[in-house]
Amino acid sequence: MSTLISLIVSGCATGAIYALVAIGFTLLWQTSQTINFAQGEFVMLPAFFMLAGMNMGMPFWLAILVGTAISVAILGAAFKRALVDPMLRHGALPLAIATMALSIMMKEGVKEFYGAEAQPFPSLIPAIDLHFLGATISTQSLGLLAVGVAAVLALQYLLNSTSVGRQMQATAQNPNVARILGIPVERMVMYSFIINAILVSVASVLVTPLYLAKFSSGETLGLAAFIAAIVGGFNQVRGAILGGILLGITDNLAATYISTQYRSAVPLALLIAVILFRPQGLLGTAEERTV
């Protein structure tokens, strides 16, 4: 029993990481039909901005702020203006290809200008192990989980209970109608990109102490977030958190009870099963058929 609890607890912790990355992923899909294949690299990069800041002598907190600001400018605004805007009207595929290229560029760029070695990254939350019900969990994991849930709650509040949020939702559901209703669609889409940039920066701060700052650390993360987003429901922000946690737990249970060699296959099987039986995702709402 304590084995099972341990597995679930640590699965939740890993899942919270996936969730945090997946939230932004679904947000971009909703507002601009952007499938961001570089989302994992989006989490990898801010840590390097922050490390660069610290190397210039900034204290950690200032480096985080500056790093986040740069991320918002580059991964939020510049990404949207330079890459997404010109391609939006051509459909999802060319944009998806462009984000694949972007992910290569970010990885190679970091490798060329910062080196291929993993760099340690200071942790914001001190790592203390807590024990309960025979399971051990570190405060870092709890912190991640808390931030993940808080991010979703805040987003839910923003989307459902504020005027800007409702305008964003309207934009997501039908940009043309939204435009007719006088909603500044462009600005709403921009907001979602900025929110994504902030989310990946937060994720970067929390995740990098575990994943280390390394050019390739976004690869597994990006794929996991992608799967989490689909499993949870591609068009629902709160689906991402369920998808992420489910993925984390499944991975652990699979490694323990099925096969360590095939551990990464089980989440994929889950993905295929979800698509077969509940294509809109566990918490998603059915999409209208688009022609």
Binding site: M87, A92, A98, K111, V291
Partner: protein, 331 residues
């Protein structure tokens, strides 16, 4: 004959001549790289059929290359001829492609992409873990090069011709296919699935067919890839290869017959051209793809196509103007 036809014919003749004559002056390395280009082109042609003609996004073409490569390697190292391996690989890939597409198409369009993405990673795990069959991470060494028509295609030059010949056969087959009623049904499917349905096209069957045939060509590429490298291990057949093939098709111009050849050429030969930039070639390639997508989402051939269309419209309107002017004279 229109300018476009003439241009195509001229390009084709030149290309074929070059591929037939140049190898006698090429170094072993150059032979190998052009052979690799031919193999990647075959895989990309398959994906172009699925994506460019039938409009289905597949992120699993790399796994089908893997299935073909392993089928070829396992069978030929056990003494069976490459032709038999080819048949098995084609049947296998067709069956897997069909089975994979079937559930995905029950639901929605872009879910096929998600399912194939999952399948890509699953395929890699099978290649790596099923050691009894694939020799796992150790890989299969000394994959023999085939005996064809009584000639041993062992040397790089001879195997080069095997690759080019295969590419020619595949090209001709696909050229025939897209002009057949099937090919027209594929395009109808891409352009407007609902209209196609109302016109009596069994859309699901044709979609699956396009996906399965495209996957087969991935398998064909794999069967040739194995003896080309003479060694197979799981590492080339990750999701990465699928994404690379997708990029080749899009960069070249999906839906254009010549797109995959061009896309594969850029991906395979570009590192060579950009050698002088040292480690930066991937950065440059990535930047190039992004800029290309911004300028022309339909790829390189899309630019050419737009240019030619613009020219012919200009010509046509000039002709119309001249015509109406002459009519004007008469009245």
């Amino acid at each position: 004959m229109s300018t476009q036809r003439l241009l195509t014919l001229l390009g084709l003749t030149l290309g074929v001549l070059l591929l037939l004559v140049a190898p006698f002056w090429m170094s072993k390395y150059q032979l190998y790289v052009v052979s690799l280009w031919a193999v990647m082109s075959i895989a990309a042609i398959g994906l172009n059929l699925t994506l460019g003609y039938a409009g289905q996004v597949s992120l699993a073409q790399g796994v089908f290359v893997g299935v073909g490569a392993y089928t070829g390697a396992i069978m030929t190292t056990n003494g069976m001829p490459m032709a038999a391996a080819l048949v098995v690989a084609v049947v296998l890939c067709f069956a897997i492609g069909w089975a994979l597409g079937y559930p995905a198409l029950r639901v929605q369009h872009h879910y096929l992409a998600f399912v194939t993405l999952a399948f890509s990673t699953l395929g890699y795990l099978v290649f790596r873990n099923e050691e009894w069959l694939t020799k796992g991470i150790y890989g299969i060494v000394d994959v023999p090069r085939p005996m064809l028509l009584g000639v041993q295609a062992e040397s790089n030059l001879r195997f080069y011709f095997v690759c080019i010949l295969s590419l020619a056969i595949v090209s001709f087959g696909v050229w025939w296919l897209i002009r057949s009623p099937w090919g027209r049904a594929f395009v109808a499917l891409r352009e407007n699935p609902i209209r196609a349905l109302s016109l009596g096209v069994d859309t699901r069957r044709y979609t699956l067919m396009a996906f399965a045939i495209g996957s087969c060509l991935g398998g064909v590429a794999g069967v040739i890839y194995a003896p080309l490298v003479e060694f197979i291990d799981p590492s080339p057949f990750t999701l990465d290869l699928s994404l690379k093939l997708l990029m080749m098709v899009i960069v070249g111009g999906s839906g254009f017959f010549a797109g995959p050849y061009l896309g594969a050429a850029i991906a395979v030969l570009l590192p060579e051209v950009l050698r002088f930039t040292e480690g930066y070639y991937l950065l440059i390639y990535a930047a190039f793809v992004m800029i290309l997508m911004i300028i022309s989402p339909t790829g390189l051939l899309g630019i050419l196509d737009r240019y030619l269309t613009a020219r012919s419209t200009r010509k046509a309107s000039a002709a119309r103007a001249a015509l109406s002017a002459s009519f004007g004279d008469q009245t």
